[in-house]
């Protein structure tokens, strides 16, 4: 057996264990969910495999945005558009077909991701802007792409969208010929495998030389520049990578859902992505998972679990209660755990600190 990287003192081993435990726990949790789906369904009234499949896709999106926002300090309110480009790119190439040619999803997904990266490279000059101005420019970009997707009816089907897209490609397995619930489980594992790989990749990236350069330009751009960090090129690179991740998530979304609608890629979703990153915890790789789980699971819980537990009909609670609970919870998380859920949890478990203390109090100098 290979020696553990922390084969040193007992103390080091303890620290390593504490660090490794939450991810291990999470991986175990993710892998057992499909096997206990039936009992989860009877307790919570939530189809966990389907819902967590979405969480996995959103986690990839949030991961991309977090690399940009949390680590490099550059905001984007246009990430839903990148997701849309990836999704429609692969859907048009493989499902709808161009000039009668239908590419295999094996080819169309990489092409769609490349297209997203290309578009991101083209608009990378907006990164000259800072703060609110950058937020607005990317918001404008997102709106523009949304309108284009909606109006290019020959290509995208307009408001009705695209239907019956091919399933995710896998060697040896034909998802299309499987029982629906089994196909969902396979997709679930595939998506989470990709998401966890990307999370591992992101963890390594942020602790590598480019990752440190990004964090340096986040905290003091001029100082970073003076130390020889090519800030403009780093910003552009991380922006393109973040967009490519969004494009990949979009492509997975398209094949997993089997249908697309422009509504999924509007400004509201870009804002939701921002919510995922900030609620989960900025500059925390695992925060992306927590944030996307928050955004997806809370409405599910309010709409399905609560009526089930209270013995009420679904219709009675309706979408309105969801909005109220979501809005209030969002505000409360921001007030009580301003550095995000993961920071709050790690304060509680790793450092045995009060999770509700405000980590910004000292920094703000107030």
């Amino acid at each position: 057996m290979r020696a553990l990287p922390s084969a040193g003192s007992r103390e080091e081993r303890r620290v390593w264990l504490i660090k490794a435990l939450p991810p291990l726990f999470f991986i175990v949790l993710i892998s057992i969910i499909p096997f206990i789906e039936g009992s989860l369904k009877s307790i919570f009234e939530i189809k966990f495999v389907l819902v967590m499949r979405t969480v996995g896709i959103y986690a990839i999106l949030a991961l991309g945005l977090n690399l940009l926002l949390g680590y490099a300090g550059q905001i984007s309110l246009g990430h839903a558009a990148f997701m849309g480009i990836g999704a429609y790119g692969t859907a048009i190439l493989s499902g709808k077909g161009v000039f009668g040619v239908h590419l295999s999803p094996y080819l169309s997904i990489p092409l769609a991701v490349a297209l997203t990266a290309l578009v991101a490279t083209a608009i990378a000059p907006v990164l000259r802007l800072k703060g609110h101005y950058l937020a607005l420019a990317t918001l404008g970009f997102g709106l523009f792409i949304y309108v284009v997707i909606r109006e290019l009816k020959q290509l995208t089907g307009g408001n009705t969208g695209l239907f019956s897209l091919p399933k995710l490609p896998l060697p040896f397995v034909q998802l299309g010929s499987m029982k629906q619930s089994n196909a969902w489980k396979v997709e679930y594992f595939l998506i989470w495998a990709i998401a966890l790989l990307l999370i591992a990749f992101a963890r390594n990236l942020v602790e590598s030389r480019p990752g440190r350069a990004l964090q340096a330009l986040h905290h003091a751009e001029v100082a970073a520049e003076a130390m020889g960090v090519g800030t403009a090129s780093y910003k552009a690179k991380i922006f393109v990578m973040s967009a490519a991740l969004a494009g990949l998530a979009g492509a997975l979304f398209a094949h997993a859902q089997g249908s697309l609608n422009p509504k999924n890629f509007g400004v509201v979703f870009s804002v939701n992505l921002l919510v995922m990153v900030v609620v989960g915890g900025m500059s925390s790789v695992w925060g992306c998972v927590a944030g996307s789980a928050f955004v997806v699971l809370l409405p599910e819980f309010v709409n399905n679990t609560l009526p089930h537990w209270l013995g009420r009909g679904k219709v009675e609670m309706g979408a309105n209660v969801e909005g109220i609970v979501f809005g209030v919870t969002l505000i409360l998380v921001m007030i009580l755990m301003p550095a995000g859920i993961t920071r709050g949890l790690s304060d509680l478990f790793r450092y045995r600190r009060n999770p509700l203390r405000n980590p910004f109090r000292k920094e703000a100098g107030l």
Partner: protein, 298 residues
């Protein structure tokens, strides 16, 4: 082409009226931004509340319209105040992004509450004066005159408030340098309270003069357009916002007319105009039309 030219005055007039709405909302954005640094994502929802409250008080208790509008204005201002006290104030020691996300929470919350109270897709807010008139070949509703009058009155009122009152001067001090303002004895937190209620009231006005259309979902697009107008005019400058609003409104109206009549594209493309203007302004003149350029020193 000739059809387009013939219709140009109408586009201009329509754009001017829409621009007035944008201007009111954008002014609110800039008032909050300049005194707190927060971009308020709930601004469009304040407009929605203004419109629906005016509808409610003019139908159910059947108040005279002037009174209903006044009540709606004051209630929305109170809601703005409550939002500041319950959401923004507790967040004063966190990064600005937290406050911005919290205002997103506020907007989701307000929209959900409004949807429970007013579940229909559309409500008719009565116009101040119904009917329409024709001048120089342009047919307009009488309400249009009210829109312009009310916008002008609001701008004048804000100007007098900023120039003539102690609170207004204190708010301007906050917008120049919050820390220095606090050191010279200005209660910055109270200014933030004023800013929120003031801009909620402005948004409410934009909501109910936009008669007759009102629904719980109207906030989003109004908010985005107002936001754009605020940036085009210069973020943080309430009077630049007025200019920005008018420019955006007119530009949007004329270009979407051009796209439809001359190029034969569907009207949906008109919505792409605002984002394009936004990006162009940000890239080529990020200080906006009336904004001060910022000098960054190391």
């Amino acid at each position: 082409m000739s059809g387009f030219l013939r219709n140009c005055p109408t586009y201009l007039a329509n754009g001017l009226l829409v621009g007035c709405l944008y201007a009111l909302i954008a002014m609110g954005f800039n008032i909050i931004y300049s005194s707190t640094g927060v971009i308020n994502f709930a601004q469009g929802e304040f407009a929605m509340l203004g419109a629906l409250l005016a509808y409610q008080f003019s139908t159910r208790p059947h108040l005279p319209l002037s009174l209903a509008v006044l009540v709606s204005l004051m209630l929305t201002a109170l809601i703005g105040l409550a939002v500041e006290r319950t959401v923004i104030f507790p967040l004063r020691r966190t990064p600005i992004i937290n406050m911005i996300i919290a205002t997103i929470g506020v907007s989701i919350f307000l929209k959900a509450v409004a949807r429970i109270i007013w579940p229909e897709e559309a409500y008719n807010v009565p116009p101040f004066t119904s009917g329409s008139f024709t001048v120089l070949g342009i047919t307009q509703r009488y309400q249009g005159i009210w829109v312009i009058l009310l916008t002008a009155a609001s701008v004048a009122a804000i100007y007098l408030f900023y120039r003539g009152t102690v609170a207004g001067k204190a708010m301007r001090a906050c917008s120049i340098n919050r820390q220095a303002a606090e050191l010279s004895g200005i209660n910055v937190s109270r200014m933030s309270m004023y800013a929120f209620s003031l801009s909620a009231a402005l948004a409410a006005a934009a909501g109910f003069i936009n008669a007759p259309a009102a629904s719980y979902g109207m906030g989003l697009s109004l908010g985005i357009s107002g936001f754009t107008a605020a940036v085009v005019g210069g973020l943080g400058n309430p009077f630049g916002a007025v200019l920005g609003g008018l420019v955006i409104g007119i530009l949007e109206s004329i270009t979407s007319g051009f796209l439809q009549v001359v190029l034969g594209l569907s009207s949906g493309y008109g919505e792409a105009v605002i984002p394009l203007v936004l990006i162009a302004v940000l890239l080529f003149m990020p200080q906006g039309l009336l904004g001060r350029g910022e000098k960054i020193r190391v």
